[in-house]
């Protein structure tokens, strides 16, 4: 539950609604973690977003969607891995797959500062998984080297790659799984 402080501003010099282009009449200020966040909305969007109901309203969600207006330069971007687009994000409020964070980097990065306490992870690291991944990446590369070497009849290189592969394989833990 986020408490929203509503100020209906009737002054001249109307601001534009952050979600559509209509003049904004609802101006919201929210303090989260000692950071001040501001949003300007028109009457319709304020109603639609449930801003008037202080119990069920998240400014973070709203900011998320506001930063995804179709006129932003990244509007045409698609995630290569899963085909997710920015308008999909606007509709669902969630991303399509982990790779989307790379594809929509330009959109995600600016909003992290408002949404979180910091912009860089400082917590737990999946150490075992990362080590395993680096081993597998190395194996893939060695196997590629081996095929190449055999193809171009560089047998000494091939023998070296083969030895290295069997060496690396001995350090490999149980098979990892993913739904790729």
């Amino acid at each position: 539950m986020v408490r929203a402080e509503l100020i209906k501003n009737l002054m001249a010099n109307p601001l534009k609604c952050d979600l559509c282009a209509k003049p904004a009449t609802v101006h919201l200020t929210q303090i989260v973690s000692n950071k001040v966040h501001k949003v300007d909305l028109c009457e319709t969007c304020a109603q639609a977003k449930g801003v008037t109901d202080p119990s069920g309203f998240s400014l973070a969600d709203l900011l998320l969607k506001a930063s995804l207006n179709p006129d932003t330069p990244t509007a045409g971007v698609r995630c290569e891995q899963c085909g997710f687009t920015q308008s999909d994000f606007k509709k669902h409020g969630r991303f399509g797959c982990p790779t989307c964070y790379e594809a929509f980097k330009g959109v995600v990065e600016p909003m992290l500062d408002t949404m979180h306490k910091g912009t860089t992870h400082t917590g737990k690291i999946p150490q075992r998984a990362l080590e395993r991944k680096s081993i597998y990446d190395r194996l893939t590369k060695l196997e590629l080297d081996l095929t190449e070497a055999i193809k171009s009849e560089r047998y000494e290189d091939a023998a070296r790659a083969r030895d290295e592969i069997s060496q690396v394989k001995q350090t490999v833990p149980s098979n990892p799984k993913s739904a790729r």
Partner: protein
């Protein structure tokens, strides 16, 4: 383990209450995890969801805390069973509404539950009765690391664990405590507390999470942000906030006693009378009455040992548990009759209130 035997066996939540759980009823931590290179549940195709479900259920079942666990798909659960699991905080409402390719693994003691294909591929949760953030963290990080042996998590060094919603990035951890705050509610201070807690980057919700009301004066307080701080820092900060809420609640109780002890004891005594004699009780009213009895226990009107009875009744008065106990499905009006009957019989043998020791404001 089957769902029927799980429902009928004692749970961490309903049977482990001790006097230490006076204000913090229960501590909960959840971690969101996703498989690398795999579409999030909300975007994955049905066949892919099934595949994710299969892989995750298998991996979770292979960890040591999940030995002899209940490992079940949402489709295999009846509506009533889902409701009971929601009332025990073992699955979310969102998961209970999932159409296909979703499931849950629940440990035998019901302290751990792992939801598969909720908003993220994995939602790992640990429940501990009382105020035990550190213990809960140690337990959950162990399970999480054990899962790492079987699954490749989506993770980047800068953004941390990648989640379907960017509001969960980083640690992807939500730590929360369920608190019983009757005096702050009676003295109309909750709004003030909620505002102060929000400013400290924490969120206050009702008993059953987002959008639920705070019947029974029970609130959930949890961290709002997940990126930019380590799990330890978040837990430490939450601990400080919870500690200060506990102090405020205790102060509020003292003030109520000082100002008009008679008025407060009247509420407790009347609650007892209604629970012993009423014939129609909605779950909201039952929660509020039980909350007053619980406050009475904290004020030494009833013995300490009764607290675990009340904590169990908090859960058993919920619609799902009530219908399960009566072995049938009933409409809300019938449920109110059954609930009152259940509580009448429970309170017929309850220790009678003793108001004579309570006047020195013991908490």
């Amino acid at each position: 383990m089957t769902i029927a035997s799980l429902i009928d066996s004692p749970s961490e939540l309903t049977d482990a209450a001790s006097s230490k759980t006076a204000i913090v009823l229960m501590t909960r931590i959840r971690l969101a995890r996703n498989l690398s290179g795999t579409a999030f549940p909300g975007w994955a195709k049905p066949a892919q969801r099934e595949e994710i479900l299969r892989i995750c259920r298998e991996a979770v079942a292979a960890t040591s805390p999940m030995k002899r666990s209940l490992n079940i798909t949402v489709g295999e659960l009846s509506e009533l069973e889902k409701q009971i699991l929601v009332e025990r905080h073992l699955i979310s409402r969102e998961l209970s509404g999932a159409k296909g390719g979703a499931g849950v693994v629940i440990s035998k003691d019901q302290a751990f539950s792992v939801m598969v294909n909720e908003e993220d591929h994995l939602r790992i949760q640990v429940l501990r009765s009382g105020f035990q953030l550190k213990k809960a963290w140690n337990a959950i990080t162990e399970l999480d690391s054990a899962l790492e042996d079987h699954l490749d998590y989506a993770f980047t060094p800068t953004l941390g664990y990648l989640t379907a919603c960017p509001t969960n990035l980083g640690t992807a951890m939500r730590a929360s405590a369920m608190m019983h705050l009757p005096a702050l509610v009676i003295s109309n201070q909750m709004e003030k507390v909620v505002r102060a807690v929000n400013q400290l980057g924490m969120v206050v919700r009702g008993l059953f999470g987002e959008g639920s009301d705070a019947s029974g004066s029970i609130f959930q307080i949890s961290n709002q942000t997940t990126l930019g701080e380590s799990e330890g820092e978040i837990i430490k900060r939450l601990h400080t906030v919870l500690q200060s809420i506990i102090e405020h609640e205790l102060n509020a109780r003292e003030k109520l006693l000082e100002a008009d002890a008679g008025k407060l004891f009247d509420k407790v005594g009347r609650a007892f009378g209604i629970l012993q004699n009423s014939h129609l009780l909605s779950s909201g009213e039952a929660m509020n009455l039980l909350s007053l009895i619980r406050l009475g226990i904290d004020l030494a009107v009833f013995p300490d040992a009764s607290r675990s009875v009340i904590d169990r009744l908090f859960i058993e008065a919920q619609p799902g548990h009530l219908q399960h106990a009566q072995k049938g499905e009933f409409d809300p009006a019938q449920r109110d009759l059954l609930r009152a009957a259940r509580l009448r019989s429970e309170f017929a043998n309850f220790v009678h209130p003793n108001f004579s020791f309570s006047t020195n404001g013991k908490n």
